[in-house]
Symmetry: C2
Subunit: 195 residues, 2 copies
DNA sequence: TTTTAACCGGACATGAGAGTCCGATTAGAA
DNA sequence: TTCTAATCGGACTCTCATGTCCGGTTAAAA
């Protein structure tokens, strides 16, 4: 692949990510090319259709996911490693809210990254040994905690940050063994109640 | 409004709900009329555009939301009332997954129902008195618990039911006061692990 | 039953997004 | 530097969803 072609592919994916964040995954396809500063022909050369773009973005997300697994694995406390994992994946959802929308499609198109799962599996064993994770909760549950919190990403700022922080603490408390102390909940800024 | 016109309006909303459930909120507008068994003119007479349909569906959801508030208020145990509320709203998300997609738009278009909020507020006071709800959790948190669980609705069945049940229990445990016993987690059907 | 006004339905015009094509250009090798 | 093949860009066509319009029909009142 020619060097400029490779660069264009990256520019197109960057543009798609930005466009999807602003207008959603149904944004006009041609705008991707425009924003990337390339012609329509170039766009179609690299990506046959919208699904191909989603696959490309899905692969990037998968790579980021694997990185988070590595980061978590390098943390000494297994409980803290779990926090790194959860917060890392939730940050992905916050940065790329369209991940929620492509999730059903991406599930079929992009193979899962197994290295992160293996890393988390080892971390869970350590957390059980530490006594920091309730023992009837396993990878199949933890795996979905970020998806859970992703249900809050479409809240308008500054509400989202507060609600996310508070409910994150509540969910984490539910993952702790019985009798573990509750996590303190982040204070709400004044005037930020239901209204 | 003529009786048949009123009936057509309901048929159109039913059709839209079904269509959105199958194809998403971006389904071709005209299909709503086709599925409702009426002409396009009738559709546009009742609903100027997609947003108007969303408002109509949003109002139905609001009415259902108020009903859930009443149901919850009539439950003796405040904690059980909270479960009725959460499960009721989550059931709405399961039946109408497109609610997630219209949430940002509906937030601006459809006024919130205040009666359900008032009912929940009273229930929370009772739950605090009962000692069944941790005292640093309030309406502003509980309000978002269903949205939290809505992050799981796009999982394919039969996975969704199990994951939803397990994470529901985990979240609820996080809402309990310190030292409350954990809720038992629903067993997973065999062969239903990560795969 | 008659009247009338509102309602119904589908044909039609309009516009926007999707996808194709080919001449011009440029990267990379000799 | 020269050559060549792959790449680029944007004009063009086509398809399809949107929204309008008006003659026919039907509900409801007198």
């Amino acid at each position: 692949m020619r060097a400029d072609a490779e660069a264009n592919r990256e520019k197109l994916l960057d543009a798609a990510a930005g466009l999807f964040a602003e207008q959603g995954v149904e944004a006009p396809f041609a705008l991707i090319a425009e924003r990337a500063g390339v012609g329509k022909g170039t766009l179609y050369r690299h990506f046959a259709d919208r699904d191909a773009v989603i696959v490309g973005l899905g692969e990037r997300a998968r790579a980021r996911f694997a990185e988070i697994g590595e980061e978590a694995a390098s943390v000494a406390s297994a409980w803290d490693a779990i926090l790194v994992y959860i917060d890392g994946v939730v940050a992905m959802y916050v940065d790329m809210p369209w991940l929620v929308a492509i999730r059903p499609r991406a599930r079929q198109l992009v193979p899962l990254d197994e290295s992160a799962e293996e890393a988390m599996s080892a971390i869970i064993d350590r957390a059980w040994a530490e006594g920091s994770l309730r023992d009837d909760v396993d990878l199949d549950d933890l795996q979905y905690v970020p998806a859970l919190l992703s249900g809050l990403v479409d809240l308008p700022e500054p509400r989202r940050a507060t609600v996310l922080a508070r409910l994150r603490a509540i969910v984490l408390d539910g993952l702790r063994p019985e009798n573990a102390p509750r996590m303190p909940l982040r204070e709400r800024a004044s005037g930020q109640s239901t209204a």
